[in-house]
């Protein structure tokens, strides 16, 4: 009986540690995403942020020449590997033969933050990538 109680307590502890850990990285990744990425990729990640679609915000200016990637689209995001995303965030769109309008964040975010953003993006698209 005592053994069972101990096992139960240990399981709860493990669950707490894992979910807690998960929440920390996910929260930080979301904060970074909301602060930096949404400017172009939109608040929901659908590629329609104010830089991409100024008209949506009642600003008379042409839309961005290149549509930022829709992070919610599993179809689009499955074309990218995690390494593609890591490179694009760190060194900018040009590093993965995409538009330079995606700037490099390698001097803004740490490698760990970029890694967490990649995981967060996989959550947004609900996809695993190539």
């Amino acid at each position: 009986m005592k053994k069972r109680a101990l096992l139960l307590a240990f399981s709860f502890l493990l669950l707490f540690v894992f979910t807690g850990g998960y929440q920390v990285w996910a929260t930080m990744a979301k904060e970074n995403y909301d602060w930096y990425c949404t400017q172009c990729h939109g608040l929901k990640g659908t590629g329609d942020g104010p830089n991409s679609r100024p008209s949506k915000y009642d600003i008379k200016q042409p839309d961005m020449s290149v549509t930022p990637r829709n992070h919610r689209s599993a179809e689009d995001m499955n074309k990218l590997s995690d390494e593609d995303m890591r490179l694009a965030i760190k060194d900018g769109g040009k590093a993965v033969s995409k538009s330079a309008l995606m700037p490099p964040f390698g001097k803004t975010l740490t490698d760990k933050e970029i890694e967490d953003l990649v995981k967060y993006l996989r959550k947004l698209c609900n996809c695993k990538g190539k």
């Binding site: 104010p50 040009k94 001097k107």
Partner: protein, 230 residues
């Protein structure tokens, strides 16, 4: 009184008269009066005038209601600042700190005389980090290409295409008239040491990515926008 003494007194009276005349005509009193107006108008409620920057988190930045001015003397051009304080226009398409709400303007305005005084005060505020005469404030095809195609600055900042049309992103300050507003030497230092001026911002850090010569040229390009070619 000796004739020499009388001559000095006359010269002094003339000088005093001229200076009073100038003050009365322009209404210009100077930085001290400008500071008093700044305080009376409660401008410090939204604008920080004491450096250094202290923000460490996104939350710290979000608490700020307007751009910090503790390095206004490094950043702004006198003529523009005087004009803007009397007749404020929209510099950011979106509200300060927002990426969802359009800017509606409405910054309080000052009289022309007050604007001159406050500008004189703000121009005394310097970081001590900006060296003058480093950047050549002119456009170049390479810098323009770098702004538009290589570093993607245009993704967040507006510039002019031709005489009237504006192109570019809207989350950063509009740079189509930046040459009237900003000093090239400050733009260069802002790119080179961004955390000194604004530790938390939405613009990525380009120090260590753009080399020094390109950075100076980019700053020169920005500081030439909306100005007549020399």
């Amino acid at each position: 009184m000796s004739s020499e003494g009388a001559r000095k007194l006359i010269v002094f009276c003339i000088a005093l008269g001229v200076s009073i005349g100038i003050t009365a005509t322009t209404g210009f009193a100077g930085p001290k009066e400008g500071k008093a107006i700044f305080e009376k108008q409660n401008c410090g409620k939204c604008h920080q005038t004491q450096g250094p920057a202290k923000e460490k988190t996104f939350e710290d930045q979000m608490k700020k209601k307007g751009p910090e001015l503790w390095y206004a003397g490094d950043k702004f051009r006198k003529e523009w600042l005087e004009e803007w304080l009397a007749n404020p226009t929209i510099i950011r398409h979106l509200k300060y700190n927002s990426i969802t709400e359009k800017s509606k303007g409405g910054h309080p305005s000052l009289s022309n005389a007050q604007a001159k005084d406050v500008a004189a005060y703000l121009l005394t505020l310097k970081s001590g980090a900006v060296k003058e005469g480093v950047v050549k404030e002119k456009s170049s095809p390479r810098a323009k290409l770098n702004f538009k195609k290589k570093y993607g600055c245009i993704g967040c900042h507006t510039i002019k295409k031709g005489k009237k049309k504006k192109i570019g992103g809207v989350t950063g300050p509009d740079l189509s008239e930046a040459g009237k507003r900003l000093k090239g030497d400050w733009v260069y230092m802002y790119l080179k040491k961004p955390k000194l001026f604004k530790p938390i911002k939405r613009m990525p850090v380009f120090a260590g990515i753009i080399n020094d010569a390109e950075m100076k040229a980019l700053a020169g390009f920005v500081a030439s926008q909306g100005r007549k070619k020399k």
